[in-house]
Symmetry: C2
Subunit: 393 residues, 2 copies
């Protein structure tokens, strides 16, 4: 038996394990230091009561023979698909129910979608980037090209006449930079994809953080996108589902390549290699889209966004260059005094006892940059900014 | 963008949709007929109280900031891995915790495991078979060989001197036949795999139905299996988790091909393309392995097995050839009077108003055979057998 040799081309990521080791060592050497963590990309607020109540009700259904649910449709129950449908409709996007696929999260679908594409496609990935885009394509042995995101383009790269791509990854609001494409910019990408017969994999996991109504929360706000884009979304950051696992992927029926419907291919993939999201989790997800659920989810997001504002205002005051933080939980800053990412990490940990994420962990263009996140506690975030002000002013 | 052309080689399965259509048509034409369904491979009893109680407790944890869980380890929390470890230990099998991967079910893992294998492997699949083994390999363009399961080998095929294989699928207790390999037979497969540098993908989803203690419930009861087999297991049939979604896959650290550990490859696959099972579901799964959970799960299985006994005794009395039904929820019978599978389906539906599954839907060797399942209601199963006795005696 021969293994998939492409796996041997993967690089191990030591980013978060190195951070953990450095923090542990620092705390051991400085047992009284009060370390504040603004590095983690995970939510901290509990599930809202609308979700909790629905979960309890669904659990009771599972304990009763009359309401018990066995196998459900692999692509999700009608009740959750129609909730997603209405969510898009409120944003003036019309979808059909069979274009919505409920999944256990955007990470799974972003990896698994590659199953339906030929190995011999050229993949275009912005750098810096969420590492999963790169690794899942290395696993399949695909040719990967990078497009530079940097200060010149405000970390929002656009295609040029030299750009080549069959599969294009876009993430907006971006992880790790927090930058958000506007409609004109996304239109350039959609037009490029249509002209080049490419497909856009649009990661909208952070769409709920967009409050500027002129910015697109879905690629389907752009004309032509249904013919060239797949959208991946998640309740992880929208409603604190990182440990509850539910997302959705939109594959339009208008998406046809080589005469074949990608919707039908994805349906075949999911019905063959997936057995659906737990019934109780689908009920919980539907509760997120209820009136009460939306109100509560938005309260949590407002809390995180207040933290983002606290961070952004501090950086502005200090004259530190940054993007993100306004329509995103991430703030991407240029390390002061041209420090390298890891040097700034050490400096921040030692001098301010604050933990962030070195930008170099997200790609070569991340070197010299640093990510702070808004998912912490409000008072701790304020305290962290107070300390940063002291060491940088 | 080019699609994965291998998908175009997939055949659509109309098995269960055709069954549904035929039953609907029959009921329309015979509105007073009392149809009994023994075709479905899904559980009908609700989750047991040990699981329900744990689910409620876990939901409450998710609603409280102090006990809330965000991202967990992709391969599962320690508490559920150690519960699986103890379950195997009770069966005299020693595993390490990092050899256990918690998943959302055997179907996902059986499909996704193929990611870590080279495309150019020869796959050996018994016929008849669970269709997912075939389809997932067609999707990857692998060469598939079939090994005949039939009355001569009691639907338990063994390798011959002509057998060629790099990847071997075994399912015991078998879906759809209910046949169970004994230790001597599995030893022949393990020795074959070791000699031929092949890997066995062992689907043990129905292991909890084995009550004959001489029969192996895990391939790791066979010497040498840790060096050549991956085991897939599920709580779907063990504890009614078909709609709750939790399983586990065992990849031993001794499993090395071309000098590479399959355990490390699978860990890389899962950490890159999967984000773990919902925390609340992992807590529910752990409750299945508790003393109370085991007692209650075994009660449900005993209930289903009583149904299997009812079916098997009827067939024995009628002199109908069959396998399964003793250590399995499935009974696989030869259609009386040499009827074809679909002819017997129609005959049974029209004359006894009983629904089963035509064996031809599981492969060419299934033609002339028929599957009945024990997952129905006790009284309805008794009634169905009474009717079958009347039309076949």
């Amino acid at each position: 038996m021969k293994i998939n040799h492409h796996y041997l081309n993967l690089e191990d990521s030591y980013l978060f394990s190195t951070i953990a080791r450095k923090v542990t060592e620092f705390q051991k050497a400085n047992p009284t230091a009060d370390v504040i963590r603004l590095g983690i990309g995970d939510v901290t607020k509990p599930l809202c009561s609308a979700v909790i109540n629905e979960l309890h009700a669904a659990v009771d259904e599972m304990g009763n023979a009359k309401t018990f649910k066995g196998y459900g449709p692999e692509q999700g129950y009608g009740f959750i698909k129609s909730a997603v449908l209405d969510y898009y409709k409120a944003n003036n996007i019309e979808l059909a129910e069979d274009e919505i696929f409920i999944s256990d999260g955007a990470k799974s679908d972003l990896g698994n979608i590659l199953d339906i594409f030929h190995k011999d496609n050229t993949v275009l990935i912005p750098d810096p980037v969420y590492p999963v885009y790169v690794d899942t394509n290395i696993m399949a042995g695909r040719n990967i090209l990078f497009i530079n995101a940097n200060m010149d383009n405000q970390f929002l790269p656009l295609p040029s006449e030299h750009t080549k791509a069959d599969i294009i990854y876009l993430c907006s609001p971006n992880n790790p930079t927090g930058a958000v494409y506007n409609k004109q910019q996304l239109k350039i990408w959609v037009d490029f994809a249509l002209e080049n017969n490419a497909v856009i994999l649009f990661d909208a996991a952070y769409e709920a953080f967009i409050s500027d109504s002129s910015l697109p929360r879905s690629i389907f706000e752009i004309e032509g996108a249904k013919k060239c884009a797949i959208e991946f979304c998640s309740l992880s950051k929208t409603a604190g589902f990182t440990g509850t696992r539910c997302g959705y992927t939109i594959v339009s029926n208008e998406l046809v390549y080589e005469g074949v419907s990608l919707n039908k291919l994805w349906l075949r993939r999911q019905t063959t290699k997936f057995n659906g999201v737990p019934y109780i989790v689908q009920k919980a997800a539907a509760a997120v889209f209820s009136e009460e659920g939306q109100k509560q989810a938005k309260e949590a997001i407002a809390y995180y966004k207040q933290n983002a504002k606290t961070i952004a205002e501090t950086l502005k005051e200090l004259g530190v260059w940054y993007v993100g933080g306004e329509n995103s939980p991430y703030i991407w800053l240029k390390c002061p005094n041209d420090m390298a990412s890891w040097d700034f990490f050490d400096f921040l940990l030692e001098k301010a006892n604050v933990v962030g994420t070195p930008g170099s962990g997200f790609g070569k263009n991340g070197e010299g940059f640093f990510r702070l996140t808004a998912f912490g506690d409000k008072d701790r975030t304020i305290e962290a900014m107070k300390r940063i002000k002291e060491i940088l002013k």
